[in-house]
C-alpha cells in the first residue's frame, strides 16, 4: 500500500448560505489517478481549491504532502500544479512569454518547449494568449499546471469543452504523467472519462461524498444489471428465457427482446437456449453498466442536469 499524498478529513466550506462542501473525507495515494466526479455545483472545484491552497476551509483538516495548505501555501505550491476552470492570463502576453514568466516562480521546472509540443501548442508559441481558441486555452492551462514539475497535478474539469481528439491526447498525457510517478487528482462530469482514466473515483453530490472506489468495483457494486438486447428477426416472446438463472427481467417489444441479467455467465446460457430453440439472430448486443449507471443508482438522477 503506497503512502497517502492527500488526506482530507471532514472538509466543510460555505459560501454565504450555500454549503458547497459538506463534510467530505478521503485520501489520495501516491501515483494514482484520482477522479472526483459529480454534477456541476456538486462541490468538486471547491474541494480541489481547498486542497490546492486556493481557499481556506471553514472546518476540517487537509494535509497535502505533509503540508498544511493554509499555513504552508507557498512551499506547497512549489510542489503541486493546478489547472483551474476559470482563470486567465494577460491577453497581450505571448505563450512563450507566459511560460517563461511562470517558470520563474519554481525551483525546478519542466522544459516548457516540450510541454507546448506535447499539447499541440508549439506552433502557437508566439501568439498572444487572446488569439487562442477555447480548447487551446484549456490545453495551455494544462501546460501551465505542469510547468513546475509537480508531484501532484490537479486538473479541474480539464476536458470540458474540448473536441474529442484533444480529449484523447490529454488522456494520454495524464497516463504518461502517472507513469512518471506523479499523482493526478482530476475532476470531471464526464463519467466515461472517469471510468477510462481513473484508478479510483470519488462520487460527490450536494457537497457530500457518496461513494469511493475503483471504477470496476463501483460498477459491480452499484452499476446494476447487464442489459442484453437481441433481435431474432421475427416476433419473439422472451418469457421462455425468464426461467434461466440470473435473468432478472424480460421486456418484449416486437422483434426486439431486452433482458436484464445479473451475471455475465447468464449471457452464454441465453445464447445456448436460443440455439436450442432453433432461433437465428439478426443482432445481439450486450450493454455493461457504466459509471453513469452507478451515479444514477446512487443519487437517483442523471449526472448532467
Amino acid at each position: 500500500m503506497s503512502e497517502n499524498v492527500v488526506t482530507v478529513q471532514n472538509l466543510i466550506k460555505h459560501y454565504k448560505d450555500v454549503k458547497a462542501v459538506d463534510g467530505i473525507s478521503f485520501a489520495v495515494k501516491r501515483g494514482e489517478i484520482f477522479g472526483i466526479v459529480g454534477p456541476n455545483g456538486a462541490g468538486k472545484t471547491t474541494t480541489i481549491e481547498c486542497i490546492a491552497s486556493m481557499r481556506r476551509a471553514d472546518s476540517g483538516s487537509v494535509d497535502v504532502l505533509g503540508l498544511d495548505p493554509v499555513k504552508d501555501s507557498i512551499v506547497l505550491k512549489r510542489r503541486i500544479g493546478l489547472q483551474q476552470q476559470e482563470s486567465e492570463i494577460q491577453d497581450r502576453l505571448r505563450l512563450w512569454e507566459a511560460m517563461e514568466l511562470f517558470s520563474s516562480f519554481y525551483d525546478t521546472v519542466l522544459d516548457w518547449k516540450a510541454l507546448l509540443k506535447q499539447l499541440n501548442l508549439w506552433e502557437k508559441k508566439d501568439s498572444f494568449y487572446s488569439a487562442l481558441s477555447g480548447g487551446q486555452k484549456k490545453r495551455f492551462f494544462v501546460a501551465m499546471a505542469l510547468i513546475g514539475d509537480p508531484e501532484i497535478v490537479f486538473l479541474d474539469e480539464f476536458t470540458s469543452g474540448l473536441d474529442p481528439q484533444s480529449r484523447i491526447s490529454i488522456w494520454k498525457l495524464v497516463k504518461e504523467l502517472r507513469d512518471q510517478g506523479r499523482t493526478i487528482v482530476l475532476s470531471t462530469h464526464y463519467m466515461d472519462e472517469a471510468e477510462k482514466l481513473c484508478d479510483r473515483v470519488a462520487i460527490i453530490d450536494h457537497g457530500k461524498l457518496t461513494a469511493l472506489d475503483s471504477p470496476s468495483n463501483l460498477i459491480s457494486m452499484h452499476g446494476g444489471h447487464i442489459r442484453v438486447q437481441f433481435d431474432v428477426g421475427d416476433v419473439f416472446d422472451g418469457e421462455s428465457l425468464s426461467r434461466l438463472e440470473g435473468v432478472e427481467s424480460v421486456l418484449n417489444d416486437g422483434n426486439v427482446c431486452t433482458l436484464e441479467v445479473s451475471a455475465s455467465s447468464t449471457i452464454v446460457e441465453i445464447v445456448k437456449k436460443l440455439d436450442a430453440m432453433g432461433q437465428g439472430l439478426d443482432s445481439f448486443r450486450i450493454e455493461a453498466p457504466t459509471l453513469e449507471d452507478v451515479f444514477l443508482n446512487i443519487t437517483g438522477r442523471e449526472v448532467r442536469d
Binding site: 490546492a52 512549489r78 493546478l82 483551474q84 482563470s87 494577460q90 497581450r92 502576453l93 520563474s104 516562480f105
Partner: protein, 247 residues
Amino acid sequence: MKSPFIAVSKSEFILYLREPSAFFFTLIFPLLLMLLFASIWGNEPFPGEEFGYVDFSVTAFMGMVMVTSFIMSLTTSMAAYREKGILKRFRAAPVTPFSILMGQLAAVFAVTVAGVILLLIAGFAIYDLKFMGNFFEFVFVFHLSAVSIAALGFIPASLAPTARSGEVIANIMYFPMLFLSGAALPHSMLPDFLKDISLLLPLTHAIKLMQGVWLGGHFWDYPVHLAVLIGFVFAGLFVSVRFFRWE
C-alpha cells in the same frame, strides 16, 4: 534561482509597451500641461528670487507623473487582473502578492522615470531650467516620494474588485491630488482651507519636499514631509499585503 519579481516586472513592462494608450497620460499629458503653463508664466525669476515658474513647478509635474503611474495605472491594471481571473492564475503558482505588486511597480517606475526625463529635457531645452540642489539628495527624495505614492496606490490596487471600481477609486484619488497638491495648479493659488485639506494628501508632501531640495534646500529641513511620506510607505504596504484580494 530565478526571481519572480524580475520576471513579473519584465512581463509587465512588455505589456505596458503593448498598451500605447497608457503612454499618453503618463508621458505626454504632464509634459503638455507643463509646457502650457510655462508658455503663460515663462521662467523669468520671480521678484526677489533666483528661480522662476518652471524651476518652481517642475517637481510638481514629476509628482503628477508619479500619481498617474502609481495610482492610476497600478490600480486599473491590478483591478482588471482581479476581475478577469489573472490574479487567480498567479495565485495557483508559488508567488506572493508582494512580488506581483512590486513587479508591477518596477514596470511603471521605468515609465515614470521616462516621463520625468521628458519633463527635464523640455525644461532644460526650452526654459533654461535651473537645478539648485544637491543631486544625491534629490535622487533620495524623488525615490522616497515615488515609493510613498506607490504604497498608497497599492491599497486600491490590492482591493478594488473590478476594473470599473478600480477606475472609479483611482479617479477619486487622482483628481484631488492633481488639483490640490500643486501638481496641475500652483499650490500658492489655492485658498487656505484647500491648502489645509491638501496636507492630508501624500502628494502634497512629496512635491513640497522635492521642490525644497530642487531649489537648494536639504531634505533634513523637512522633517514633517519626510515623516508623512515614510508613514504612508508603511501604512500602504501593511494594508495592501494584509488585505490583498486575489479574486
